[in-house]
Amino acid sequence: MRASAGYTEYHPRWLRRRKSTYWWLERVSYLAFILRELSSIFVVWTVAFLLLLVHAVSQGDNAYRHFLSWSGSPLVLLLNLTSLLFVVFHAATWFRLAPQAMVVHVRGRRLPGAWIAVSNYLLWALATALVSWLLLGD
């Protein structure tokens, strides 16, 4: 943040009341915000988990079977279930916000936000179907 011009994080003359470290417990919307931010941890875990899968598949059939039984152990299962909840929360909020982030004009008129949200959800369904077909189709 220090690189951006004209922006100082600490201004000696401003009165700044210190916010509590637990400010995000004050309102449900704040809590939702911080939970959404925490989804980052579970996104990173998803990458680690899938990389372990890639590694196991590279190692051979035995390693792959070992990976599958390991992913069935209670702790890993719980972690993945939690991750699924957080990543779905990320996805739902991400697509819900898409209309604010994407301004699409067609023939000089702005496309209604609902259209953009719906097309994002459709894309989500399509991607989900494609991966399911690829992984379950053999």
Binding site: A3, T21, D138
Partner: protein, 117 residues
């Protein structure tokens, strides 16, 4: 002349990773994290999965997927610490840890995907 900030690029990568995580994260987690371990559906066999991973396009795509998700996670986690816990005096350290971690993770991903037999 003002020095160009890298922030816009980081936000762009954050968005790209966010879209990919939203589109594909849930189904990967649902299948490999929940459905296959619980035996609701039988997982793809090893031979088939290896043939999918062998395809160069699959590997290039997976690398982009992993790398962008890591940058997305790093960027958001950086702001979780900044806004959520208000850790503002350790900016350099936090940034190094987050983006450095994402770069190291991407390198590991590239290595693992490269090594697929």
């Amino acid at each position: 002349m003002a020095r160009r900030s890298i922030e816009p690029l980081l936000w762009l990568l954050f968005s790209a990773g966010g879209v990919l995580a939203a589109l594909l994260g849930p189904i990967f987690l649902l299948l490999f994290g929940v459905v296959f371990p619980l035996g609701w559906l039988s997982p793809p066999n090893h031979e088939y999965l290896l043939s999918v991973l062998r395809h160069p396009l699959a590997r290039v795509f997976l690398f982009a997927f992993f790398a962008l998700l890591l940058v997305h996670g790093a960027h958001r986690f950086r702001y979780t610490l900044y806004d959520g816990l208000q850790i503002k005096h350790l900016n350099e350290f936090v940034n190094l840890l987050c983006y450095g971690g994402a770069i190291v993770g991407s390198a590991v991903a590239a290595y693992l995907l490269w090594r697929v037999p």
